[in-house]
Amino acid sequence: MLKNYFKIFIKVASQNKLFTFLSLFGISLTIMFVMIFSMTISKITTGSGPEKNLKKIVFCQRVSVHETHNGKKVGGFSISGCGRSLCEDHLKNVKNANIISMYSGPQPWEFIFNGKYQSKLQNQTDAEYWNLYDYKFLQGRPYNKEEVTKSSNLAVITRSLKELLFGSDENVLGKTVRYTSMNLVVTGVVEDPPKTAQNAMGDLYFPYTLIKNNDPTEEYLGGFIIAFKANSSKQFGPIRNEAQEMVARLDAADTLHSVFLSGPYSQVEKMMVGYGDPEEYSVGTSLFKYLMYALAFLLLPAINLMALNFARIHERGEEIAVRKSFGAASRVLRGQFLFENILMTLTGGVIGIILSYLVVAFLGNSLTLRVNFMGSVPLSFSFNYLVFIAALISCLIFGLLSGYLPAIRLSRMKPAVYLKGGEL
């Protein structure tokens, strides 16, 4: 039976090449986008380069503070990264995490070198940062806890920054890098993190204690990200509870402010929530929003294919009538049509997957996907089985969405109309 349907599918598809092309075109392109998008996102969320433990890390990067009067929110309201004191005096004491690190995250660093404008990234970190992420040290060592506490003028630079500043010089340990008005002594050189790393980013790293301009009156707000590494993702819940309880205590003790901490979130959650008002954007609403986008994205080509299917139902009239005459029930015919349609969408899916590999292979480095306001990442490969499942499920949804209604119409056609035995 399926063999019979398969033969029909091949014949019908090869006889009406324009229709086949139109059907496959929409599906293939959509699957290609789904594939490229999910491969790249999967690459980011799995972690690459120094982020090999990404799946065990949760982050807080947004705090909001409302001024309050008698327990009611009034007037002023600010959102920012985590404050230095909030991190140092409170969040760093979370017990359920193995490693807790605070850092500014990548910040723009623009300077003129040898008469040329340069745009690089600098990242102000604590010593724990080097335990949290697995940078590959080519020379030297990271700065340690004591050096951070003492605000030592030290820096870790990447290989590309070293090549820019020092050219072919072999050993650059002990040489200085000028950052604003400071001369930082290089203690280590690391391999550049890949562009797909979204947390371990930067060209120049130095102790966050070197920056003194943090407003001491701002207890909660500042420019820091705080990251908690757990033994496994099972610890995420306890870590979140602990962090939230700490902030709740601060909130209760402060009669002039109401404080809200967003997270801690995993990489996936963090990407969904983004940098908006932390009280407005929760993982749930973001997930819903993205699912709606995805559905709309899949719905358009599905509707297109459905319209094509409707338009040519009458072409199949004679075949349907003959099959009915010889005993096909409507349900069986619906099954046949859906089967053919899913074969069509799966074929489109396979073409889409091949296209996505070709696009990533040939254009991956010149095309980027924007993931947040800081960065775009190059389109990337990832052999994650989830990506294939995403493509496959998309094809099935396609096949069902675009085939179901036409199949019903088709199975209800009156055979007598197409079997005019007498007149020709």
């Binding site: 009538a321 009915k324 010889f326 005993g327 035995g421």
Partner: protein, 220 residues
Amino acid sequence: MIKLENISKVYRTKEIETLALDNINFEVREGEFVSVMGPSGCGKSTLLNIIGLLDEPDKGKLNLNNLEILSYEDKKTARMRNQLVGFIFQSFHLIKELNVYDNVELPLIYRKTPQAERKKRVMEALEKVGLVNRMQHYPSQLSGGQCQRAAIARAVAGDPKIILADEPTGNLDSIIGHEVVGILADLNSKGTTIVMVTHDEMIAKSTHRIVRLFDGRLVG
């Protein structure tokens, strides 16, 4: 085998109502070979479609193989068409995407006959019509006579009690036409009940009985 009582069928389109069959009473006994004759548009095809459960009458009772048709539920009529009836059409209506073998196999596929049994039955049917050497051909590669023989093989592959043939010789020249009717007569001699629409008096006379339709009514 086939019994129609007061069967009427009206076709309604936006502009007109056509009374295609008007109070038809008609019986065919088991093993009979009956010809249906009448001018174009008198309701012959409609009659065959109603007997074959491809169309529903507006009034009257239909009895097939001692079973009164009370409802036209899709699954039930599909099963009856599959097991009881074999259709032959003037313009063959072979599925053009399938070769002769696959076309003939069609009724057996909807009956869920096992593969080996299917093959045996298809080969037997093809032997009956002398088309074994053409079984890999597609309809477009066959002559009209060969197409109609393939269609007959398809109609008999499921070994139905009734064959309904709507002008089976209409598209064939007279020699080939007689050959095709010969095959039908042969099937009839082995017990198959046949109702055949034809315009050819000679062919009609070679069957057991002639029924004449005029404007949806039986005459003579």
